[in-house]
């Protein structure tokens, strides 16, 4: 850190001369980092600059420095620097600028970077879980573990991707941060696009994105709407050896009636075109890609959302979390695409409702919001570790009362049993989930034979179905299943902070030494404690109480 300035290096092996999701990602992350007033971003390029579609806008930013690969070597081939040479360049820049964080995208780059002693301690490995690689391969898993151990932080795209990463690479727990693709903030209110019967696609041409099927959709729908057009943006073709996919598609784009192919456009120009209205398409064909893509937040989708367009898109977990499970234009199967597109183009009210959902869904990916989510770690704030607990609750978690016990605990606190019994008397949906912290260095638990099961000894028979116990070796993820927590010794200690930051509402008896931030959640006796808990969940106030608890814990009052 030089003075108040935060020095960040951002490197991706993408060729920024080409327009693709990967190159736009670099622009998006650089612009997002630039939203931090103290951040200065250095973007070393892998390939010599030939077009300024991506780098042009970056060069206009005051605190972004685009570094040509020729800075280190006088001649660099068109295909760009090899991994080792790119790391030489980053090392040279690091000696000069003393980066606080070096964000490196892709598995091969990160694997090579951790071998450089001078970079260790500064590496933020980004998107190293790649859908094309086999996460069941032990060699690959060992590499991922080494990267996680050597990295300062590991950046993942979405909560879903973080869950998978932490499941397969336990060494990454406690280091992962979500860095989704980001979009520019909307000027003023929500953009309102005109209702217009046209289809839009922006992105690369790869069989995973079935553009040929989209062209067929256009042909099928033109008899109904003769003026229907399909506007296509992009010029990067996947060219599989021994397959004329690219030639065939290029021919189809050039000759299909109704297609307007714009080629590559700068992001701002593409946004302008999208803003003129239409129905955007983001369909996936799993015959040509891994289902791990289900967990990825698509840059394409966010750009459509940013323009305020309705999108007909493949239903995935990550996209459901952005638009909501009830979004009307999800496609469950490619065969349903035509019906969904017909609905979107044929019903103006539906078109506008879908556009509003997309617009709202994209808001949390705007630059200031994304920067705010990574700022605690980037700026080294003292509560950064605590914020690791701030993760979305799983569906139904509000009904789970949780107690996290220390590693040596031998019994479930009687207060927790009494509270869950009373809660179940009011509503049988309540459960008590008891966690016992894993002892340091303990072997992983064998499924079906958890040592924590010993805590069940002496459990009253009427609570047999209501109580579950487990060893907890990953507290932030365990707290995601918990909606309420009860403190057996009263609301006395700050040890409840992680639980509260996770969004679990702390319950307990209030005492003279209860910290101020916990006071509002305290009860004078057990009866009122149970009543408060039941009312919170059944009465619908739980989410608001969880937010208050989280805010109080982070504010550090008391």
């Amino acid at each position: 850190m030089s003075g108040d300035q935060l020095e960040v290096c951002l490197y991706s092996p993408a060729d920024l001369n080409l327009m693709s999701g990967s190159s736009i990602w670099v622009q998006s992350v650089a612009e997002m980092l630039h939203a931090g007033p103290r951040v200065r971003v250095t973007v070393p390029l892998r390939c010599p600059e030939r077009r300024r579609l991506v780098t042009g806008p970056l060069r206009q930013l005051e605190r972004v420095d685009v570094v040509e690969p020729t800075r280190l070597r006088r001649y660099v081939p068109r295909s760009g620097l090899y991994v080792s040479t790119a790391l030489d360049l980053i090392e040279a820049l690091h000696r000069e600028r003393h980066f606080d964080a070096i964000i490196l995208r892709s598995f091969p780059t990160c694997r090579a970077a951790i071998e450089r002693a001078s970079l260790r301690g500064h590496i933020w490995s980004c998107y190293i879980l790649e859908p094309e690689r086999d996460i069941e391969d032990p060699v690959h898993l060992a590499d991922l573990t080494v990267i996680a151990e050597a990295s300062e932080r590991v950046l993942v795209q979405s909560e879903e991707m973080r869950a998978l990463f932490e499941a397969v690479v336990p060494a990454g727990r406690g280091k992962t941060i979500i860095l989704p693709p980001a979009i520019p903030p909307a000027d003023g209110g929500a953009p309102e696009v005109p209702f217009r019967r046209r289809l839009l696609y922006a992105g690369k041409f790869h069989p995973f994105y079935p553009v040929e099927r989209m062209l067929a959709l256009l042909t099928e729908l033109r008899p109904t709407w003769p003026d229907l057009e399909f506007h296509v943006i992009g010029d990067q073709f996947f060219r599989p050896p021994g397959d004329d996919y690219a030639d065939r598609l290029e021919q189809a784009l050039a000759t299909t009636p109704g297609v307007v192919w714009h080629g590559a456009l700068p992001r701002a120009a593409a946004a302008g075109l999208l803003a003129q209205g239409g129905l955007a398409l983001s369909l996936w064909d799993y015959r040509h890609g891994s289902t791990m893509n289900d967990l990825v937040v698509s840059m394409k989708l966010l750009d459509y959302c940013s323009a305020g367009l309705p999108v007909a898109l493949t239903r995935t977990a990550a996209q459901e979390s952005i638009l909501g499970a009830d979004y009307p234009l999800f496609v469950d199967d490619l065969d349903e695409a035509r019906a969904v597109v017909e609905r979107g183009l044929g019903d103006e009210d539906l078109y506008r409702a879908a556009a509003a959902s997309c617009c709202a869904g994209g808001r949390r990916f705007e630059y200031p919001a994304v920067y705010a989510s990574i700022a605690p770690d980037l700026e080294g704030r003292p509560d950064a570790a605590l914020r690791q607990y701030d993760r979305p609750k799983l569906e139904g978690a509000a009904w789970n009362l949780g107690v996290l016990l220390p590693a040596g605990a031998t019994a479930i606190p009687p207060l927790a049993l009494r509270v869950v019994r009373e809660l179940r008397r009011r509503d049988p949906r309540f459960h008590l989930l008891v966690g016992r912290t894993s002892a340091p260095g303990a072997a992983p638990t064998v499924p079906g034979s958890d040592p924590a099961a010993a805590l069940r000894a002496g459990l009253p028979p009427d609570l047999d179905d209501a109580v579950s116990v487990r060893t907890v070796d990953d507290a932030p993820n365990w707290w995601r299943t918990i909606g309420l927590t009860v403190e057996p010794d009263g609301l006395l200690v700050d040890g409840l902070r992680p639980a509260a930051v996770s969004g679990a509402v702390p319950l307990g008896l209030v005492g003279p030494t209860t910290p101020a931030w916990l006071g509002p959640f305290g009860s004078a006796d057990e009866t009122s404690l149970v009543a408060a808990a039941a009312d919170l969940v059944a009465g619908g106030d739980w989410a608001a109480a969880a937010a208050r608890a989280q805010a109080g814990a982070l504010a550090g009052e008391g």
Binding site: Y82, A398, G448, D465, R470
Partner: protein, 299 residues
């Protein structure tokens, strides 16, 4: 003299079965090594022969990465590019050397794994189900059903049976004491409970790798205990429970649309999908038998 394959080296008499196996294995390994050595010598002789040398030279000439044609082509491209931008002329020598060298291979993406053939799993599932059905028909003892559900089972297995509700933390211990005849996995309907995030699809480490479900179903399969996924989530639940359902030997649903969606799962390892479109009646066992009979004709 004793036979070497049945005696441990240095032992004075016949060995036990285990040591005989070890001795035979060692002999087999030695034989393999000897054969490999002969093959290596033969390959080296061929490599050094005139035909071998010629073949290697021709291969090098045509190699698109290390061959002279490829190097000359790369150097030619350098000359063209620098010719277009004379300002880069001072970089010409370094550029030519770079082009003449063998470029390092970029780490390639591993080829996608071919889809695993599921027919052996399906055949094994079919056999488990048929054996269970035969056992139910003969009924030589009490039926013990292991059940994954939210809350206590609402009905008995049948008059002479017993249902054991499993918990994630100690099912192995419980089942080892008294193994069940069948495992029934039901989709949770309630909001909470310990199994919910382990058998449904959620963005959570417990759910994504299905460690608990794999372990439990593997334990049952090793002991020839069939596993049935009993759908209660309807069509909307298919996305949440498809991964677990696909691992079970049989999927049962009373909704034809739901059953069709489960039947279409490409990675389904079970024997089939059974549809109950008749009003529920009889005990759980009677209904299971109906399901098995339906499944035997299902795809």
């Amino acid at each position: 003299m004793t036979d070497r394959t049945s005696v441990e080296p240095g032992a004075e008499g016949p060995t036990t079965d285990a040591s005989a196996t070890t001795a035979r294995s060692l002999a087999a390994v030695e034989a393999e090594r000897a054969a490999e050595l002969v093959a290596d010598r033969e390959a080296e002789r061929r490599r050094r022969s005139f035909a071998g040398r010629t073949e290697r030279i021709l291969r090098w000439l045509g190699d698109s990465r290390t061959g002279p044609v490829a190097r000359l082509r790369r150097m030619g491209r350098v000359l063209i590019e620098i010719g277009r931008s004379p300002r880069a002329l001072p970089a010409l020598p370094a550029a030519l050397i770079t082009a003449a060298r063998i470029p390092p291979l970029s780490p390639p993406l591993p080829p996608p794994r071919p889809p695993r053939p599921l027919e052996p799993d399906r055949a094994a599932a079919r056999e488990r189900l048929m054996r269970f059905d035969a056992w139910v028909a003969a009924r030589e003892g009490p039926l013990r059903v292991a059940l994954i559900a939210d809350g206590a089972p609402a009905e008995p297995a049948d008059a002479a049976g017993e249902i054991v509700a499993l918990r994630p933390e100690d099912w192995r211990v419980v089942l080892q004491v008294a193994p069940p005849r069948i495992l029934v996995v039901t989709a949770p309907r309630g909001p909470g409970g310990p199994w919910r995030y382990r058998i449904g699809w959620y963005a959570h480490p417990d759910a994504l790798l299905q460690r608990d479900v794999w372990a439990l179903l593997g334990w049952c399969a090793e002991r020839d205990i069939p596993a049935i996924f009993w759908d209660r989530g309807g069509p909307a639940g298919v996305r949440t429970f498809r991964a677990t359902a696909a691992l079970c030997d049989l999927i049962v649903s009373d909704d034809p649309l739901t059953a069709a969606r489960y039947a279409a799962l490409p990675d389904r390892r079970g024997a089939g999908v059974a549809v109950w479109d008749v009003p529920h009646g009889g005990s759980m066992v009677q209904r299971l038998r109906e399901g098995l009979m339906t499944a035997s004709t299902a795809s």
